[in-house]
């Protein structure tokens, strides 16, 4: 069974701080996706990383896929209250199935 472990599960920081969320697995994935989910809404795709070692930037968010395609990280620079939400990583298996981690609940206080 493929599992994805996210850490930390909860993160509460002040506006302007930096943070990193980790997504780890013992399994290899063909690609990995990061989603953000706000209360009362469904997850919204932020990025897909495909190649081992790949780094993608989305404004203040930096996503990295591990060289072995088993892990990923999300780094947010100078966090803002609007970044508050549940961040989910999802591994895509060879068969195209999406397996979600348990999520990281981020709270950014002004």
């Amino acid at each position: 069974t493929q599992l994805l472990e996210q850490s930390p599960q909860f993160l509460s920081i002040q506006e302007g701080e930096n943070l990193t969320v980790y997504c780890n697995s013992s399994s290899v994935f063909s690609s990995l996706q990061w989603y953000r989910q706000e209360p009362g809404e469904g997850p919204v795709l932020l990025v897909t990383v495909v190649t081992g070692g790949e780094v993608k930037k989305l404004k203040r968010l930096t996503f990295q896929f591990g060289d072995a395609r088993k892990d990923s990280s999300l780094h947010i620079t100078a966090a803002q209250p609007g970044d508050t939400g549940l961040y989910l990583c999802a591994g895509v298996s060879q068969g195209g199935k999406l397996i979600f981690g348990q999520g990281t609940e981020l709270s950014v206080k002004p």
Binding site: G40, E41, K97, G101
Partner: protein
């Protein structure tokens, strides 16, 4: 482009009652998914349809859950009888890809929140 529509948004029932959720995917999307998201956890796939055929229902509790997508467009997820542990948000998502290779790009609906008392 209209998003994925789900209804009802909220439902409260007593255990052993039945409930049904409806989903209308993005027009033209061949693949439809139902996920269960328990509070504090990530979404768990219940069932995946490709047009009107089932691709994956390995994690669907078939003794109480059923789903159909008769005309390959909208879909219904039913729970009968409901248990306390079924309290969760039921998310519907759709995708234009077959999912056989490469990354899927899923668009999620806002979800249906079920509370079983």
């Amino acid at each position: 482009e209209a998003g994925v529509a789900q209804s009802p948004r909220y439902k409260i029932i007593e255990k052993r009652q039945s409930v049904a959720f409806w989903c209308n995917p993005i027009s033209g999307h061949a693949t439809l998914y139902w996920y269960q998201q328990i509070l504090g956890q990530g979404p768990k796939l219940l069932i995946q349809f490709q047009n009107n055929g089932v691709v994956d229902d390995s994690q669907l509790p078939k003794d109480r859950f059923s789903a159909e997508r008769l005309k390959g467009v909208d879909s219904t997820l039913k729970i009968q009888p409901a248990k306390l542990e079924d309290s969760a948000v039921y998310l519907c998502a759709s995708s234009p890809r077959t999912g056989l290779s490469g990354a899927n790009v899923l668009t999620f609906g806002a979800g249906s929140r079920l509370t079983v008392l």
